[in-house]
Amino acid sequence: MSESSLSVTRVGDLANPTRFIAFVGRVLPVLAGVTALLFAVGLVMSFLAPEDYQQGATIRIMFVHVPAAWLSMMCYTVMTASAIGTLVWRHPLADVSARAAAPIGAIFTVLALLTGSLWGKPMWGTWWVWDARLTSVFVLLLMYLGLIALNRAMDDPSKSARVSAILILVGFINIPIIKFSVDWWNTLHQPASVVRLDGPTIHASMLYPLLVMALAFTVLFFTLHMAAMRNEILRRRVAALRRQAARGR
């Protein structure tokens, strides 16, 4: 029973894992192509963009840093939507989506922090500065790692779906509180002289490359997310088959 041979009658009913795998099988190559194209265009445009009069060439790091940070937050929103899908509609693929998205979100957050510090070094002379936004992204990383640790600790996915969904929601409710407390904490201890991360209002010539790069990152995210979901479904199928084999039926 190879996946792609299944005839997909109605694309709408993706709740069925088998049909979802077939759908991913067909859509993935197209998405991969679009991602590669977008990245190519984005990189060329960002290379041609003029240097910023204030920050010099380091502005180019923004073309990678801002999309990564934006993606790390968008990924958590996707996981929150999945959590609602698990809790409210008991959608069979919602937990698969949340579980597949967590590592991707974590990698994007690490990337955002890495490029953030690479950008900070030339400007502020230190690898890490407790800027309000960088700190919030760092706390977001802690939440991702907590969720990944929880998912790995739970051996049986069907039972733990609702539990991790609840934790994702509680985390989501807390993001504004954390953001507010970090801003408060930042203004209290931080001398006001720190240059704001995104610099002056972005000039059009730099805005378009940024948007293209952001789009490229987003399409890449969805490609990876669907592929990771397919892997998760297959992983659960293997586990179920092994349990079935163990029971000797």
């Binding site: 060439a57 380091t58 084999a245």
Partner: protein, 55 residues
Amino acid sequence: MAYFGYIFASYLATAVALLGLIGWVVFDLRGRRADLAELEARGVRRRSAAAAEDR
């Protein structure tokens, strides 16, 4: 171009991270398919797969 090192490092980090993600997904897929094939070879049928065949 000043600070070339930092710019290059950040693009390199991005490339490593994204290619790493793509690599992990592909590697994971191959692994799971291999597991499934091996289970299939051992004759462990999925209930719905078995049912699909009877239909």
